[in-house]
Each structure stands twice: as structure tokens, then as C-alpha cells.
């Protein structure tokens, strides 16, 4: 299998109307020579086709027998390129290596909302399986006619249809499809006969694009070269909200080979070498009017609580007042977390090449179809005349959804008349990050005399509601949310915020599962026993028990001085239980995470190796926001500009990581790129408490914060 690369600007796009002709479309997907194509128009409603076509997934079996999946999803390290291909190969009865994936190319793939929220396998994968099942049925029908064998007798294997009673009687997919063009359009879910036994899905499979990555063949947006291309460096304000008062670019203009472009607020320097463009930009003299900073890291929480919109109920049950009355002990805590950056290793990058009334775009993006729309609007082109190609993407984590760099490249390509690449510097990447929002959680809860949780009142400021529904048995609860990362929460922040790997959930699980530990201690119970005593959800009990077995230590009433922590969550259907072991240096406040055990029930596991890799990645990345990562700012001034002050997790932080995948094939596959990162705050906070008897209510738990908390007692 390989990732198909359409790096060259396409010469085959000949239509200029907003509708692409049918013939043109078939040509694009390589079907003029014959083959089978299956369109699917159901599945993830968010991916419902909105423009070119009325289907949201399709696959092609070419006259050469190769199978191609066209998906508007993108691969950015989360491994869907491999897992989707596995699902397809399995259902269709072909070896993995004969599957090609075409992803995130707006000219070839059906419209898709974007790649985020651990939805690709869960929704798109399920749709794809339907398409494959249909293709298989078509192939069997064709083979039945050709071999004169009733279809019931036929089986598929390795790209062939075989007579089960006479295995010499067989025909390859390529022979069947050659010279014919068969199109099927599925509009309804059929009951797919699962392709059991799975031979490809469920098997640990290394990333199929790994070879390209280790040889340097993998091309990211910044690696695409177009003849005559210029690199642009753009003048940026020193702080968010600054306005330009005066500009003098005379010195920049004197640099050899430089083009200075000024179009109202967009001021850029273009050169055939990016470093030369940067040097020239540094010669631009600009004066700015800078607004008085109102908020900073210290007063941000006060500001947020003061500017929050009213409570919106997420879920409730029972009667909160009654719950309060039933409580023998009540608990009240406030949890905080600071802004966190996405900081993918590849900064936002885009290249735009305009030819006449058409444009080709290479973008580092999680939302290629939105990029297409934005570029079309910027250039005044029809959307169908803009082709966005998503090459390899060097990490996204929710941060590459807004395509600002794509719009900039499009504007500059138009203004300069040349192909233009915009690749943000690390400083720009920090400056324009759509940060994970700082947030405040006010949480009140209560236990009755039997140590049962009877009352839970959850008031969430700006984190976003995801994963905040309690999964414990709590008779009287009310969960609310104000100004999440999606719904207008933007206004209260001094800069833009957005989704960050496991959006909302990281904050929510930190607060919820810290509170559970506080109550466990008050109940005089160990944190695992307390959880189990308040939990009837079987799946969650199983996940907790599986983690506990692997963890191998007994929990005791906290603080046991052993440094053991526990936390669990339901992330959009994936159940996670994490246990950790930490050491805390009480003099320096430094936390060393020694070991993390994570059990996952994500339904059917398509690629166990890929799943483990994602879980390990979540745990490692999670250590960052839990222990160190926070954006320091003063008003709109982002003080962190590079990795010297904004510290990412490193090799020397590595705990021992163990993952447990719970076999649950009866449940359709759920997501796995995000869930395991979300309990990291609580599991470490609980372990720190268990180690030193000091509770930390704010993320990240930097050594300074821990030292302060120790002194406070």
C-alpha cells in the first residue's frame, strides 16, 4: 500500500464551470478505462457531501485490480491511512498492499468536514466497510456469471473470486473489471456481513507510509516545489490587537531579488530563498499602536469567571437541592488550567499556484475542503477550480483547522503573480496558535453516610462540555458549561482559542477525577474501591479492573506516600482507565512520572499496533500540559516564542508505558487518537497527592506551583 502523491499541479482539470462534468470526474478518478466504483451517501452526517457530489465516500477497483479509497479525511500522524486501508482490504478480500489511499485531495475526494475528534475510523471507516461490502457483492455477481457458478458458492481471497467447490475455478478482480464500468450508489445501510474471519483488520500493522518517512521521500507542504515559486515572510503585529501606524519598507526593497507586497494590512516580503526573505523582512520598519494589556496569566481566571455567559445545562438528573440535603459530607473545589499550544513540529505551511482561473494548493491542514472554500473566496474563483492537496502533515492536534496560512499564500500568489509558499516560523506558530482555552471548573459534590455520591454540581467555564457527563451513579447531578471552545467562547480570551487534542475533556477529566479522589479519601476508601463502589457501568468497571491488574499494585487510602494515581473517562465512546506511579521531590517540587499503565476499550480494534502507538503518544504528549506547558502572555502579547521557554516533553521525561487493549469486537470501532490523553491531568494530580499529601488544583503542575502548594500545606 502506498500514499498516492499528486504533487504536480494537475493539467487534467479542464472545466471552469462550478460544476465538474461527469466525464471529467470519472477521468479524474481514473475510471475511463473501466472498473468498479461504489459511492456511499450515508454515514457520518458531518461529512455529508455538500458540493461536487452527493456521496461522502467512495472506492474504486481499477482495471488493474488495484483498490483505491478516496477520502476527504487526512493523515497527520494518527495512523488512519493504515487503519482505513486495513478495514477496506479486509472487507474486500484483497491484500493490504494492493490498496491505495487518496486522502484530503479536494479534486478527487468527496467533501469532508475535517479530520478531528477521533472520528475517522468510527464514522468514515464504517461507511467504507459498507462500500467494500457492496463492491464485493458486485464482484461476486460478475464472477458468478462468468464462471457459471451460483454466487453462494463463491468466496473472495487475495483479489480473486474463487469457487469454493473447485478452487481451480477462479477469476481475478482485474479480469472482472477490465473494459467495464460499473457504478453503484449506496444510499442505505445494508446489514454488512462482516468479513470474518478478519485477516487484515485486527492485526498489528506497521504504518504503511513509514518507508516514505524514514527515507525523506515523504513530502510535507513545505517540501513542494513549483518552478518560479517565491517564499513569503509576512509582517506580524507584536501583539494581538495592535494596529499599524507607520511603515517604512524602503530598506527591504533594496535587497537583491526581493518583492515587497503591501495590500492594506498584508505586508510581505517575497524572495526565492526563504532565509533571504526573512532578512529583508527584518529591515522593514513598522510602528504599532499597542493596546493596554488587561489580562495576563495571573488574573486570567478572574477575568474568565467574570466574563462568562450564563450556564447552559449539559445534562442533569434528579433534584440537585435534594441531593445536597442527602449529603452527609460536601466538597467544594475549583480547578484551573492555563492556555496550552498545539505546537506541531511542522508549523503551518501552504503553497499556492495560480494558473489562469484555477489554483492548486498544497496545505498543511486538517480541513482541506474549508481551505478550498477560503481560497476560492480569496481569489474569486469557483470552488471547483481550486484544488487543495494535502500532502503529509507534520502533526495537527486540532490546531490546523483554520487555514490562515493558506489564505495568506493565496493572496500573495494573486498579488505577486507567482507561485508562493508561506511557511510560518516557530514564533508565528506560537503567536497564531488557536490555544487550548484557559478554563475554570467549579465543582460541588457530596457523599451520603454510605459513601455514595449523591450530589454533583458541575459548573464549567470555557473548557467545553465534552466528557463532562458523569459516568458514576450519581442520583442528583447537574452539569453545565459556559463558553466552550466552539460556541463563542472566543470573545472572552485575549487571543484565539480552539480545539486541542481531546478538546474540553482534558480539563473536565482533570476536575472530575481529582474530585473523585478527594471524596474517596473522605470516605476512608482507596481510590479504586471507591470508584467501583459508585459505578455500575460494566464496561468502565472492566477497563478499571484491567488497568489495575496490569498496574499490579494495591491502592490504599490516600495519601499512602507511594505515589500511585488513578483516573478514568468515557471519551466519545472509548473507555480509558489510567494508573500512574510518580515520585515528587518535595524540595524542588519536581515530579518524575515513573510508570503509566493505560487500559483502553475502543470497541473493535482495527490496528492494535497503531492503537498502542496512539495511546503511547497521548501519554507522552499529555505529560507536557500536565507538568510544564502553559502559554505565558500579557494581554495580546504571547511571551513564549520558541521551545526554550515553552517546554515540550522530552526523552528524559519518559515513564515506563504499558498499554492494555480490551478485546471488544462486538462493538464497532471507536476513536483512539485522543482518549488516552484526557485522564493525564487527574492521574498525575492524584498520584502527586498520594505521594506527598498535597492537592494541586491547577494545570500545569509546574515545580513552582507544587512548591507553593507544599508551603501552603
Amino acid at each position: 500500500m502506498r500514499k498516492e502523491e499528486y504533487a504536480k499541479p494537475s493539467r487534467s482539470l479542464t472545466t471552469s464551470s462550478s460544476e465538474v462534468s461527469r466525464r471529467e470526474f470519472l477521468k479524474r478518478i481514473g475510471l475511463l478505462g473501466g472498473g468498479i466504483v461504489i459511492y456511499v451517501s450515508f454515514g457520518d452526517i458531518s461529512s455529508r457531501a455538500q458540493q461536487l457530489t452527493d456521496f461522502n465516500a467512495f472506492l474504486r477497483i481499477g482495471a488493474d485490480g488495484r483498490v483505491t479509497c478516496f477520502s476527504g479525511k487526512i493523515e497527520m500522524g494518527q495512523g488512519v491511512l493504515t487503519s482505513l486501508a486495513q478495514m477496506l482490504a479486509d472487507q474486500l478480500g484483497v491484500p493490504l498492499k494492493s490498496v491505495d489511499m487518496v486522502m484530503g485531495d479536494t479534486s478527487l475526494c468527496p467533501w469532508d468536514m475535517g479530520t478531528f475528534g477521533s472520528r475517522s475510523t468510527k464514522y468514515f471507516g464504517a461507511t467504507l466497510r459498507h462500500a467494500a461490502a457492496e463492491a464485493r457483492a458486485v464482484l461476486i455477481q460478475m464472477a458468478a456469471e462468468r464462471l457459471h457458478v451460483p454466487p453462494q458458492r463463491l468466496t473472495v481471497k487475495d483479489g480473486q473470486v474463487i469457487d469454493s467447490q473447485n478452487t481451480d475455478k477462479k477469476v481475478t478482480y482485474a479480469q472482472l473489471t477490465r473494459g467495464k464500468r460499473i457504478e453503484r450508489h449506496l444510499t442505505q445501510r445494508t446489514s454488512i456481513k462482516p468479513a470474518f474471519p478478519h485477516t487484515v483488520s485486527g492485526k498489528a500493522t506497521g504504518k504503511t507510509d513509514a518507508r516514505q518517512m524514514v527515507t525523506g521521500e515523504a513530502r510535507y507542504a513545505g517540501d513542494i516545489r513549483v518552478p518560479g515559486m517565491l517564499y513569503a515572510k509576512i509582517l506580524r503585529p507584536p501583539v494581538h490587537g495592535a494596529t499599524l501606524k507607520r511603515i517604512d519598507s524602503e530598506n527591504a526593497k533594496k535587497v537583491n531579488g526581493v518583492k515587497v507586497i503591501q495590500d492594506s494590512d498584508l505586508i510581505a516580503v517575497l524572495h526565492k530563498y526563504p532565509d533571504e526573505a526573512q532578512k529583508a523582512l527584518d529591515k522593514v520598519h513598522a510602528e504599532w499602536e499597542i493596546p493596554e494589556p488587561k489580562v495576563d496569566n495571573r488574573n486570567i481566571f478572574k477575568h474568565l469567571t467574570a466574563s462568562a455567559p450564563p450556564r447552559q445545562t449539559v445534562t442533569q438528573s434528579g433534584d440537585i437541592e435534594k441531593g445536597k440535603r442527602l449529603a452527609a459530607k460536601t466538597f467544594e473545589s475549583i480547578y484551573f488550567n492555563q492556555y496550552v499550544a498545539h505546537a506541531p513540529m511542522e508549523p503551518h505551511t501552504a503553497g499556492v499556484h495560480i494558473e489562469g482561473k484555477r489554483a492548486t494548493v498544497w496545505a498543511s491542514t486538517q480541513t482541506p475542503f474549508w481551505a478550498q472554500k477560503e481560497v476560492a473566496r480569496t481569489l474569486g474563483f469557483a470552488s471547483s477550480d481550486v484544488r487543495v492537496i494535502t500532502p503529509f502533515v507534520g502533526g495537527g492536534f486540532g490546531g490546523k483547522t483554520r487555514n490562515q496560512q493558506v489564505i495568506e499564500a493565496a493572496q500573495l500568489a494573486r498579488l505577486s503573480g507567482r507561485p508562493v509558499q508561506v511557511a510560518w516560523t516557530r514564533k508565528e506558530e506560537f503567536f497564531y496558535d488557536t490555544f487550548r482555552p484557559a478554563a475554570v471548573i467549579k465543582l460541588r459534590s457530596g457523599l451520603d453516610r454510605d459513601h455514595r455520591i449523591v450530589y454533583w454540581d458541575y459548573d464549567n467555564y470555557f473548557a467545553g462540555a465534552r466528557s463532562s457527563q458523569p459516568f458514576y451513579d450519581i442520583a442528583h447531578h447537574r452539569v453545565s458549561s459556559r463558553g466552550g471552545w466552539m460556541d463563542g467562547g472566543d470573545q472572552a480570551h485575549p487571543f484565539r482559542v480552539g480545539a486541542w487534542r481531546g478538546p474540553g475533556s482534558n480539563t473536565n477529566v482533570f476536575a472530575m477525577e481529582s474530585q473523585i479522589d478527594i471524596m474517596a479519601e473522605a470516605a476512608g476508601m482507596d481510590p479504586l474501591a471507591f470508584r467501583l463502589a459508585n459505578l455500575t457501568d460494566k464496561r468502565m468497571r472492566k477497563v478499571l479492573s484491567a488497568a489495575a491488574v496490569k498496574f499490579g499494585h494495591r491502592f490504599a487510602k490516600t495519601p499512602s506516600r507511594k505515589g500511585f494515581g488513578i483516573a478514568c473517562t468515557d471519551y466519545q465512546g472509548t473507555y480509558v482507565a489510567t494508573m500512574a506511579e510518580v515520585k515528587v521531590d518535595e524540595k524542588t517540587g519536581y515530579v518524575r512520572v515513573e510508570r503509566v499503565v493505560c487500559a483502553h476499550d475502543m470497541g473493535e480494534v482495527i490496528n492494535p499496533l497503531g492503537a498502542r502507538l496512539q495511546i503511547e503518544g497521548c501519554i507522552t504528549m499529555g505529560l507536557g500540559y500536565v507538568l510544564r506547558e502553559e502559554i505565558r502572555f500579557k494581554g495580546g502579547n504571547i511571551l513564549d516564542e520558541n521551545f526554550d521557554t515553552y517546554e515540550l516533553p522530552r526523552f528524559s521525561w519518559l515513564p515506563k508505558i504499558e498499554t492494555v487493549l480490551i478485546d471488544n469486537p462486538a462493538m464497532p470501532p471507536q476513536g483512539c487518537g485522543e482518549p488516552a490523553i484526557t485522564p493525564m491531568g487527574a492521574v498525575i494530580a492524584n498520584a502527586v497527592y498520594d505521594a506527598i499529601g498535597v492537592r494541586i488544583f491547577e494545570l500545569p503542575m509546574t515545580p513552582e506551583r507544587i512548591k507553593k502548594a507544599i508551603i501552603k500545606g
Binding site: Q212, V214, G394, L613, S652
Partner: protein, 160 residues
């Protein structure tokens, strides 16, 4: 100041006339179109731009091109010999020691220089040597395993 600069890049001679102060990273990526070395920070803080200069791992974003006159430079593109992957490349595939792959060229070349100096590193030595190379996807566990595997392989004399 423009000057003539020669070096060997992945076994082939390169002759340039460039401003010697320009950073090697951009010379490689743009002037020479060798895009394996990646820009991640531009300030010597991430290791994404790592290349081998006379076998040693060097941060190309910090290296003026005049400093590599006459040197032997290897980028990720030059590691495989006649289509045969280097044991480190093999091991990174075998262990799935990558996710988005953006840090991978720098990781592999950094590990290469470690193994050249210390063919049998302990786990701690690997961690210490690799600590300046950042990976946002969190592939660290497997990168360490891959380096251990490659070290064993190379000791077995399969390829240096």
C-alpha cells in the same frame, strides 16, 4: 559575502556560489531541493534540521554554509545504499517509531551519530543523546526501542 563553496552531499560533489553566512538548512532545502532536513524552530531547539557533517550530527539551521566547506554531508535521503535501507531506517519502520514523521529524519540522523560514537549505548545513554530532539507526537518510547534494535543489528555486522 558571496563565495565559492564545495562539499559532498550524499556522496555527490556540490559547487555553490552563495553568501557563506546563509544557513545550511536553507541551502539544502531551497537551493539544492533536498527537503529531508526539516525546519522546526530555527534556533537550535528541536533537532528537526539535523544532518550529518563528517559523521557528526549538526543542526543545519545553526550552521553557516561556509563552515561545511569540503565536508561530507549526509541527509536522510543519503542514508539508504542502493535502495537498501540503513538498519536505523529499518528499525524505525519495524518499531513504528514514527507518527507524523516530521521529526523522523532528525531522529534517525541524530541516532546515527550516537551509534558511530558509541555502538553499544545503554538505554540511558540513548535517552541522553536524543534529549534535544523533539517529537510532538510522542513517539519517544518506540524511537528508543528502534535505536536499541538498530544498535544490535549493526553490531551483528549487517551494515555500518
Amino acid at each position: 559575502m558571496m563565495q565559492a563553496i564545495h562539499f559532498k552531499l550524499n556522496g555527490k560533489p556540490v559547487n555553490l556560489r552563495v553568501d557563506g553566512e546563509r544557513r545550511l538548512l536553507w541551502i539544502l532545502r531551497t537551493d539544492l531541493g533536498v527537503t529531508g532536513p526539516k525546519y522546526g524552530c530555527g534556533e537550535g531547539l528541536c533537532g528537526g534540521c539535523t544532518v550529518l557533517v563528517n559523521e557528526a550530527a549538526v543542526l543545519s539551521c545553526q550552521t553557516p554554509v561556509k563552515d561545511v566547506k569540503g565536508a561530507e554531508i549526509i541527509t536522510i535521503e543519503g542514508l539508504a545504499k542502493n535502495g537498501k535501507l540503513h538498519p536505523l531506517q529499518q528499525a524505525f519502520i519495524q518499531h513504528d517509531a514514527l507518527q507524523c514523521g516530521f521529526c523522523t529524519p532528525g531522529m534517525i540522523l541524530k541516532a546515527h551519530s550516537l551509534l558511530a560514537e558509541n555502538p553499544e549505548p545503554t538505554r540511558d545513554e540513548i535517552i541522553q543523546a536524543m534529549d534535544e530532539n523533539l517529537c510532538r507526537c510522542g513517539s519517544h518510547v518506540r524511537i528508543v526501542q528502534a535505536i536499541q534494535t538498530a544498535a544490535k543489528q549493526m553490531k551483528g555486522g549487517k551494515q555500518g
